[in-house]
């Protein structure tokens, strides 16, 4: 009888002890569950090269944060789908990540068309979505959970250039501009600031034409600009048509004071393939490996080691920067609650490799205005002054 009582008491004690152990360890056990960040990237198809760079940037961020103990004390891991460069699939995978995989956070996709299409999905499910967006229109749809950190905005592309041009004495500025723009949303996003600023600076736009892609030949366009004495050329196109404009300008010995090439000249192939002919072209960006904000050196060192190149590739940086912004939202909110993350991001300043940012009601930072110029085969930052890496070359030297 006594033995049975002892046995019963021992069992009760054991049960009590086990319960205590479970209560004590449940917190850390739960805390060690990884935070899953899901979504899709174009890992195959037309945009695969860029998609893979974004993925590498994100993974570099994850390695770094996991080495520091993770996010909210939990490791992070990715659930990355390959959307095959297909916008429809990007939307499907965003839905799947949120509703089926029940991921904790969503990461930004690429290209702008995919990001633009995923933004309403994120809004519907109230998930914070940090990406490059799809130019200004995508941020003007009333979405409250989307952030561009940094965004890639055609509307801001030439801001830096014009701000610098404003510092040039009026008599040294160009007098007449030729504006050739590819007829698509990316091209159209570039033209607003040109109209605003040329008016403000007293530059007459004598040619403002759009062309459909593919551009069959650039010779007539350049000849017209030359005949009308345009001393400023805007070649608002992708790589292929941008190159045709430059080559035609050289062939026809057309020497405007400034050539601006939006979009196409930001790819490394511009310098590699065009060589000296690609020099002195102005452009813009919202992120660059020569920026002096904290983190850029670290990314450059990683790129040197991993890719054997001097500066990190642009989209590697974007992948990293978007995760930086999202992580600061989570850490600031001290929670994975999407509304709390959003509210924290809307009311606090974050630090990214593209610089410090605060967000407006659209989810956008103040216009980013880095102006670049290719000088001696290197992309240099020429404006604003606090990030300048080289003096701009103006007026453009004549073709050799």
């Amino acid at each position: 009888m006594r033995r049975a009582l002892l046995r019963k008491n021992a069992s009760t004690l054991l049960l009590f002890g086990l319960s205590l152990f479970l209560v004590a360890t449940a917190g850390p056990l739960f805390a060690s569950q990884p935070i899953v960040i899901g979504g899709s990237l174009p890992l195959t198809g037309e945009f695969a090269e860029t998609g893979k760079l974004i993925e590498k940037g994100m993974k570099f961020w994850a390695e770094e944060i996991n080495a520091k103990g993770g996010l909210l004390g939990r490791p992070v891991e990715f659930k990355i789908y390959d959307d095959e460069s297909n916008v429809g699939k990007a939307v499907t995978y965003a839905e799947k990540a949120i509703t089926v995989d029940k991921v904790d956070l969503l990461f930004g996709g690429y290209p702008g068309t995919a990001a633009r299409a995923v933004m309403p999905v994120a809004e519907k499910h109230k998930f914070v979505y940090v990406s490059m967006g799809g130019h200004m229109k995508s941020f003007e749809q009333g979405y409250t959970f989307s952030f561009g950190a940094p965004p890639l905005m055609g509307e801001w592309w030439y801001e830096g250039f014009f701000q610098w041009m404003e510092t040039i004495p009026a008599d040294q500025r160009p007098k007449k501009a030729a504006v050739y723009t590819m007829n698509n949303p990316v091209g159209s996003s570039l033209t607003g600031s040109i109209q605003k600023w040329t008016k403000q600076l007293g530059i007459e736009v004598v040619i403002d034409e759009k062309y459909n892609l593919p551009l069959p030949d650039a010779t007539p366009l350049i000849m017209k600009a030359k005949q009308l004495n345009c001393d400023m050329l805007f070649a608002n196109g992708f790589f292929g048509d941008g190159v045709m404009m430059i080559r035609a300008a050289k062939a026809l010995d057309y020497n405007p004071k400034a050539i601006l090439q939006g979009i196409g000249s930001v790819v490394p192939a511009w310098i590699k393939e065009l060589g000296k002919d690609g020099d002195y072209v102005f452009s813009g960006t919202s992120l660059f490996n020569k920026l002096n904000f904290p983190g850029n050196d670290k990314l450059n060192a990683y790129a040197r080691k991993e890719f054997n190149i001097d500066g990190y590739p642009l989209y590697f940086g974007f992948g990293y920067a978007w995760m930086q912004a999202l992580a600061q939202g989570v850490e600031g909110a001290k929670s994975l609650d999407q509304t709390k993350i959003r509210d924290w991001l809307k009311t606090n300043k974050i630090e990214t490799i593209a610089g410090p940012m605060t967000f407006d009601e659209k989810g956008l930072p103040a216009p980013i205005n880095f102006c670049t110029q290719i000088i001696n085969g290197q992309v240099e930052l020429v404006w604003p002054l606090n990030v300048r890496t080289a003096e701009p070359v103006y007026p453009k030297p004549a073709w050799k």
Binding site: E46, E49, K210, L221, A269
Partner: protein
């Protein structure tokens, strides 16, 4: 609108159109003669352009000179493809559809091969003559389009003369005009078909290098080039070598003139509008099919 700009646009258009014709002539040949629509035709051209780019950067061999190597290689590749792949569908009831599906697969393989070997970055031929021009009065003749034009004249004339003047060329024509009769005369239909396909693929190589002289290219570029192939072949009439050449020139003239007279965003609309009109009014093309 001044006459200099009009004439300059016209010159540029003609040069550009001639290169489209060079790229399109082999496409027209396989379509008209063999009833094979080779959707991979432009991808073979792209392969030659990438090869030219590589030998130029590695060994300094001019892209045009690289054709000495790539054209024979593509000829044998085309022959082999016919013998081992296309021959299986030539007896199918719907050869055109079957060939499109089959060669679409080949195009995907070639595109991915290019991605694997050269990556997705766009490429350019930047030779010593890339920026050179011949100035005649107020007109500028850039070297690359002039070289493309010369290549086109030489390439298309060679194919034309081969088909009209050589025994094998005559056999090609005979085999596809009267297959049974030609076999009775001792012509080996399989061998002649392989030669025809090889010739077409080889001409794609020359066309691809010509396109590379005018435009940047990357592994997906062949999809865009394919549109121009359909354009020149439909306008020129399938299977018609000279028709294809004329179609290239016509398209060049139309593009050049529309660039001079119309807003630039209308140029492609007008060019492809023309294609639709021809398809409706004269579906066999402006020039009669031959071979």
């Amino acid at each position: 609108m001044n006459s200099t700009l009009i004439f300059q646009s016209l010159i540029s258009g003609v040069m550009m159109g001639s290169v489209y014709a060079l790229l399109g002539v082999g496409f027209s040949l396989t379509w008209g003669v063999m009833k094979v629509i080779n959707v991979a035709h432009a991808a073979f051209g792209l392969l030659a352009a990438f090869f030219a780019y590589t030998v130029f950067h590695r060994y300094g061999i001019d892209p045009v000179v690289s054709l000495v190597l790539s054209v024979p290689f593509l000829f044998f590749l085309g022959c082999a493809l016919y013998r081992f792949l296309l021959i299986r569908i030539t007896s199918a009831r719907a050869v055109i559809v079957s060939s499109m599906i089959l060669t679409f697969g080949v195009a995907i393989i070639l595109e991915n091969l290019a991605l694997l070997l050269w990556g997705a970055d766009p490429r350019l031929f930047t030779t010593s003559y890339t920026s050179k021009v011949i100035i005649v009065g107020p007109f500028y003749f850039q070297y690359p389009p002039v070289i493309g034009f010369v290549m086109s004249v030489v390439g298309i004339s060679s194919i034309y003369l081969f088909l009209k003047r050589t025994y094998v060329g005559k056999a090609v024509r005979a085999a596809w005009q009267q297959p049974e009769a030609s076999q009775l005369c001792g012509i080996n239909l399989g061998r002649i078909s392989a030669i025809t396909f090889g010739l077409a693929v080889a001409s794609a190589g020359a066309g691809g290098v010509g396109m590379g002289l005018l435009y940047s290219f990357e592994p997906h570029s062949h999809n865009l080039w394919l549109i121009y192939l359909f354009l020149v072949v439909i306008v020129g009439g399938v299977g018609n070598v000279l028709g294809t050449a004329m179609a290239g020139l016509i398209i060049g003239v139309i593009t050049g003139l529309s660039m001079a007279f119309l807003p630039y965003q209308w140029v492609n609309l007008l060019t492809f509008g023309l294609l639709m009109v021809i398809l409706v009014v004269k579906p066999q093309g402006l020039f009669q099919s031959e071979v």
